[in-house]
C-alpha cells in the first residue's frame, strides 16, 4: 500500500540520518574549591554547581581525605547546587565522587580532586 511504503521510507530516513542517542546529563559547571585547584587550608564545605536542577533523593557526593577516609557530611541540594560540609583533614589531595539525577531524570556521575596545602 502506498501509505505504508511512504511511512517505511520516512522511518528508514529517520533511522539512517538520526543520530545515535547519548544519555543527557547535568554537567558539573563549577566547584568550590575549583576542580584541580590548590587551597591553603581545608574548606569547611565544598560546593558543586550543575547545569540543571537536581533531585535530592538521587544525589550522592562522597569526599575522601588524603588518607582515603570519608571526609564529607550529608549533602544538601538546593536547585542546581550541592553543598557538602567537610570534616577536618590534613594537607594533601581530596577526592570528590559525585552521582546526580537532574529534574528531567538524567543521571550523571563524575569525580575530581583538589589539593589542600602549599
Amino acid at each position: 500500500m502506498m501509505i505504508v511504503r511512504k511511512a517505511a521510507l520516512v522511518a528508514a530516513t529517520i533511522v539512517l540520518i538520526a543520530p545515535s542517542l547519548a544519555r543527557a546529563h547535568a554537567m558539573l559547571e563549577r566547584a568550590e574549591p575549583r576542580v584541580g585547584s590548590t587551597v591553603p587550608s581545608a574548606p569547611a564545605q565544598i560546593r558543586l554547581v550543575f547545569s540543571q536542577a537536581l533531585e535530592g533523593a538521587f544525589t550522592m557526593v562522597g569526599v575522601t581525605d588524603p588518607a582515603g577516609r570519608p571526609a564529607g557530611g550529608k549533602a544538601r541540594v538546593s536547585g542546581s547546587e550541592i553543598v557538602v560540609p567537610l570534616k577536618g583533614g590534613g594537607p594533601g589531595v581530596y577526592r570528590v565522587k559525585w552521582k546526580v539525577l537532574s529534574k528531567d531524570t538524567h543521571a550523571t556521575e563524575g569525580n575530581y580532586s583538589f589539593t589542600v596545602g602549599p
Binding site: 543520530p19 542517542l21 543527557a24 533523593a57 538521587f58 529534574k103 531524570t105
Partner: protein
C-alpha cells in the same frame, strides 16, 4: 556514542506516550473546537462526538500504560541497568514519591482517572469542556518533566510555557487528523448523503483551527530552539541539533501536505460538479500520511528527550581553538 537497549526503549516509549496523550486531547479538541462549530446539533453530530470520546478513551488507556512503562524503565536506568528490566524497589519507590517526575506522574494518573470518568459518565458527557480541560492538563503536565522543567534562570518559566503551548498546539493538529479521517470516510461506510454533506464544513473549520496551531507551533518551537540550542552551528555538530533538524524536516513535509489539502483538494468539496467522493478520499489519504509524519515527529521528540541539549556544548563551540 552508541546508546544502549534501555535508552532506545525509553526513547520509543516516551515518543509513543507523547503521541497517545496528544491523541486523547486531539480527539476531544476536534469535538469541541471543530465539530461543534461546523455541524448543527443533531443525532449525527452526537454520534461523531461519541466517536471522538471513544477515540480519546482508547488513546488515554495507551497513554497510561506507556506512562507506567516510562516510569518503570526510567527507574531501571537510574539503577544503572542498560537493558529494559524491572528495577529494584529501592529505586522505584523514591522515584515515585521523592522526585518531581514521580510527583507529576501521580498527578497525571489522577487526571487520567478523572478524564476516564468524564468520558464514560453520561451526565459529564453533556459538559465536554470538563474532559477537554482534563485532557489538556494531562498532556501539558509532561512539560514539567522535560528539559524545560529542569531549567533555571530568568527564562525558565517562558521555556516551560512555550513547551506547554507547543505540546497543546501539536496535539490539536496531529491529534485531530484521525477524527477528521473518520469523518471523511463516514459517508463511504453509512452511504448517507447527509454524512457527505457535513464534510466540507468540517474540513474548512479544521483548516481554520490548524492555521493558528501552526503559528503557535512555529513560535513556541523557535523559543524552545533558542533555549535548548542557542547557536545555529550546534544544529549540525550535536546529536540534539541534528535530531531537531530531522523534526523540522518532518514538520515542513506536514505543512506542505496541509497546504496542498487546504488550497487544492479541499476546495473541490465545494464545487458543485466536482467528484466529491474522490476529493474526500484524497483528503483522507493525505490526512493519513500527515498523521504518519506526525507520529514520526513524536518518536523523534521521544529520542530528543534522552539527549543532551545542544546548548550545553555552546562553551566548547565558542572556546578558542
Amino acid at each position: 556514542m552508541e546508546a544502549d537497549a534501555l535508552t532506545w526503549t525509553l526513547a520509543v516509549i516516551r515518543g509513543v506516550h507523547l503521541a497517545t496523550a496528544s491523541g486523547a486531547f486531539g480527539a476531544l479538541a476536534f469535538d469541541s473546537l471543530i465539530l461543534r462549530s461546523a455541524v448543527k446539533a443533531s443525532l449525527r453530530r452526537d454520534a461523531i462526538s461519541a466517536q471522538c470520546r471513544r477515540l480519546a478513551l482508547f488513546w488515554l488507556v495507551f497513554a497510561v500504560l506507556t506512562g507506567a512503562a516510562w516510569l518503570v524503565l526510567l527507574a531501571a536506568q537510574i539503577a544503572g541497568s542498560t537493558e529494559p528490566v524491572l528495577p529494584p524497589r529501592e529505586t522505584l519507590l523514591p522515584l515515585i514519591f521523592d522526585t518531581r517526575f514521580g510527583g507529576i506522574a501521580l498527578i497525571r494518573l489522577i487526571l487520567a482517572l478523572f478524564l476516564a470518568v468524564a468520558l464514560l459518565n453520561a451526565k459529564l458527557q453533556r459538559l465536554p469542556a470538563i474532559a477537554f480541560v482534563l485532557a489538556l492538563a494531562f498532556l501539558v503536565a509532561i512539560a514539567w518533566t522535560g528539559h524545560a522543567g529542569s531549567g533555571e534562570g530568568e527564562y525558565a518559566d517562558a521555556h516551560l510555557f512555550a513547551d506547554a503551548v507547543h505540546a497543546a498546539s501539536a496535539a490539536i493538529w496531529v491529534g485531530g487528523l484521525l477524527p477528521l479521517m473518520l469523518v471523511l470516510l463516514r459517508s463511504r461506510r453509512t452511504r448517507d448523503a447527509a454524512d457527505a454533506a457535513i464534510a466540507p464544513g468540517i474540513v474548512l473549520r479544521f483548516s481554520d483551527i490548524a492555521l493558528p496551531c501552526v503559528v503557535l507551533l512555529l513560535g513556541s518551537g523557535l523559543v524552545n530552539a533558542w533555549m535548548l540550542v542557542g547557536d545555529p552551528r550546534l544544529l549540525l555538530v550535536t546529536e540534539h541539533g541534528r535530531a531537531l533538524l530531522v523534526k523540522a524536516g518532518l514538520f515542513a513535509a506536514m505543512l506542505m501536505l496541509a497546504a496542498l489539502n487546504r488550497f487544492i483538494v479541499a476546495p473541490q468539496l465545494l464545487r458543485p460538479r466536482a467528484d466529491h467522493a474522490s476529493a474526500r478520499m484524497a483528503l483522507a489519504r493525505s490526512a493519513a500520511l500527515e498523521l504518519v509524519l506526525g507520529l514520526c515527529i513524536y518518536l523523534v521528540v521521544g529520542a530528543m528527550g534522552q539527549m543532551h541539549p545542544a546548548i550545553h556544548f555552546l562553551e566548547q563551540l565558542l572556546a578558542p581553538t
